[in-house]
Amino acid sequence: MRLLWLVPVVPTLILFYLPLSVILAEALKGGEGPSPFVRLFSNPYTFRVIGFTLWQALVSTGVSLMLGLPGAWLLGRATFPGKRLLKALTAIPFVLPSILVVLAFVIFYGNSGVLNRFAMGVFDLKRPPFPILYSFSAIVLAHAFYNFPLAARLIGGFWERHNDGPALAARTLGAGPVRCFLTVTLPGLLPAIFSAAGLIYLFCFMSFAVVLVLGGGPRYTTIEVEIYRAARISLDLDMAAALAVVGAGLTLSMLWITVKMQHRASHAVRGQASRRGTLRLSGKARIFWGFYILLVVLVVASPLVALVVRSFLAQVSRSGPLVWTLKWYDVLFTESGSALSLMAVKNSLVFASLTVCAALPLGMAAAWVTTRSQGVWARFTETAMMLPMGVSSVVLGLGYFKCLALFFPDYSGSRAAVVAAHVVVAYPFVLRSVSASLKRISPSLPQVARTLGAGPFQTFLTVELPLIRSGLVGGACFAFALSMGEINATLILARADTITIPLALYRLIGAYRFFAACALGTLLMGLCVVCFLLLEWMGGESLDPERE
């Protein structure tokens, strides 16, 4: 029992800390000539990349928060028909692969995309009126698309359990609604806002596919993209390693700050009694909020709808009209010459299944150790197990890339490494999901089972396991969806035998074969939506801020 903490820690050491150490060692050692760090920091381009990474994350976070706050109020305080559905929809971006969002953006906002064509048609314009794509605003828009539902959900969840007693007291003491919000409610929400902002900033900082494709060039390059370019395009592995060390250092310190803020947020919750918000929407407010919801649904849904619709359309001739067809799906799987897509689907399913099989026990063991035992080792385990969240999967992929070269120089594939990377990406989410359900079990339940004659293992099987089932299913869905959509580490590790759906999508986009990309993307989206539905069916609890 005492050594149980080794069960989650040892795999993590091998799967996460080993590749990370290899990068660090290589970066410090370097090849011939000056140290890669010296080369890195003597180039002003490096500072521009770091600066841009920080800046785009800041702007994206700001936009996400501004879009998300009204939604947080809706989810936290108001009651209206369809609230449950709206809350469920905020989880969609979580399970949507980034490459799919990229594709949807290209289809919808591209210069010959749905939006521009529509505007050109209606207003009879010669040039596309919204040249959004391949620019800074495309990056920010995509990040906001991803993260403002997260902001609404996290802050809304906090708001819902936030005691409104002090606010009501302020009103009876003579504060108007605005003053009351600014002086009482907002300070109370700040921990949640900071905590959500920290998380979103981290996500945007580590964003890869969005910047790689929508940024469209060296002008809009972040650290993650630069690592990929150095490793796989300019083949300067030392430089990539040095950059990865810098990136990991930055993200880990951000994670540290975020965790600190989350602790403060949860303390703030504990101190206050909860009362559910029951504000009914009426009259003018209804129109305003109806407009907000409509806008949100349009912004989030239309690119995705466009993607699905496009996959069923084909042009008869070069300038002919569009007709409905299943041709692209047919082409996907029967294309002569290369059965690329078929192989990608097969690989993705295999990788995702293996990821679930490995991440589930790993995350469950970690959750059990960190919630059920006390003392130094439990805390150590918790920290050791959460650190992977603060290192981007691009860095992780690079680590595996180096490990493969170092330990298996004769191995020409990378399937095992891809699965390992997916496991490291996925298990912290399993850990979170399972911990949330474990924490809800009263400590006297396993104790009473023991007094009734069940040993520790029997207690786990008959009492705890059935009670964390929803957390496990949620975690498994997460792991599956994350693996299906993972492109960062996969792209860095890409070899002939590891083509996955996201990689195939990336290549199809690169080759401007958008119809085929849409068909494959729709397939991927379908799989992810199934995961999402399962997740919601299980209560979607794994996404919400932790309850004490």
Partner: protein
């Protein structure tokens, strides 16, 4: 089954728990004390949910303090019921029987029998979430006694229920105990529960058992001032014994008292007092501060100088706020605890 707790010791920082206790076969013993006195910890150590630093626990001569909880053969009822939310009432009760490999048929008949005992036969297939607090506690009781434990441990089982339900349920717990002659260790901070339920009470304070005795013995002849004040309503007057009298600090003679001279505290119950209208005679002069009508009786709060005294009066008492008189402590009824307080 006799339960023996010998020199059980556990240290938590500054707090030390040191207990000797015997619960005889078929006895209902309550451990009572203020919160933080270590009574729940004692119970959890007997159950095996917490370990002791030293000492032994034996059950009918079998040393169990090093056995895990599942090997001890005890039954425990928790304060929060701890019903398994994913199992029906019947499955909850059958849980311990299943682990003891009781056959399906015997199991079912035993579950039926127990549910009948706690009057929940019609709730067998329901889930805990649909039951009321009192029903949940009865399921917890049935589940704990299902595997025929040697000792039944109850950790403040009624504290989460409302007052009226508590009275019903405590009678029920006692009836179940009598029917099965279960050796029972009951932990509570509610003195009324302890008085009404127990064969014997152990009073605990600061990690140690102060004294044990029958409810009547402890109530009427408490060996410690703390015991007397903890069980039931009481009055205390600080003062000294002087030449055959108890004299208050302010110098008034209250009641004749034999025994050696010296400072101490006079202890008496609210029904050991008579209130007189005439101001002359032995006793303390007082003013009525407040009269509380309690239905079956009246509680009169009086003030005499710096002392406050509560007195039971009949429900149709004539005493009312502001009236004054003389208070007499019935000779031979109070207790004197020597020593400075």
């Amino acid at each position: 089954m006799t339960l023996n707790v010998n020199d059980l010791f556990r240290r938590y920082g500054d707090f030390q728990l040191r207990v000797n206790l015997t619960v005889s076969k078929g006895e209902f013993l309550s451990v009572i004390g203020p919160s933080g006195c270590g009574k729940s910890t004692l119970l959890r150590m007997v159950a095996g949910l917490e370990s002791a630093d030293a000492g032994s626990i034996d059950l009918n001569g079998r040393e169990i303090s090093h056995e895990p909880p599942e090997k001890r053969g005890i039954g425990m009822v928790f304060q929060d019921y701890a019903l398994f939310p994913h199992m029906s009432v019947a499955e909850n009760v059958a849980y311990g029987l299943k682990l003891r490999k009781v056959g399906k048929k015997d199991r079912e008949s035993r579950v039926r029998e127990l549910l009948a005992l706690v009057r929940l036969t019609d709730k067998a297939d329901e889930f805990p979430a649909t039951l009321s607090g009192g029903e949940q506690q009865r399921v917890a009781l049935a589940r704990a006694i299902a595997p025929n434990p040697s000792v039944l441990l109850l950790d403040e089982p009624l504290s989460a229920l409302d007052a009226r339900l508590r009275i019903d349920l405590r009678r029920e717990i006692r009836e179940v105990h009598d029917r099965l002659s279960l050796t029972t260790l009951y932990v509570t901070h509610d003195q009324e529960e302890a008085l009404t339920l127990s064969d014997r009470i152990a009073v605990m304070k600061g990690g140690e058992i102060l004294q044990t005795g029958t409810p009547k013995g402890l109530y009427e002849r408490p060996g410690h001032l703390f015991t007397g004040m903890f069980l039931g309503l009481s009055n205390t007057l600080a003062g000294r014994v002087e030449q055959g009298w108890f004299v208050t600090d302010s110098g008034t003679q209250v009641v004749r008292w034999g025994g050696p001279d010296g400072p101490g505290t006079l202890f008496f119950r609210p029904h050991h007092v008579v209130l007189h209208e005439s101001p002359s005679g032995i006793g303390l002069s007082f003013v009525v501060k407040r009269v509380e009508y309690c239905g079956a009786w009246t509680l009169v709060h009086v003030v005499s100088g710096a002392h406050r005294v509560i007195v039971f009066e009949a429900r149709d008492t004539l005493w009312e706020e502001g009236r004054s008189g003389r208070l007499e402590v019935l000779p031979g009824e109070g207790l004197f605890f020597p020593g400075l307080t």
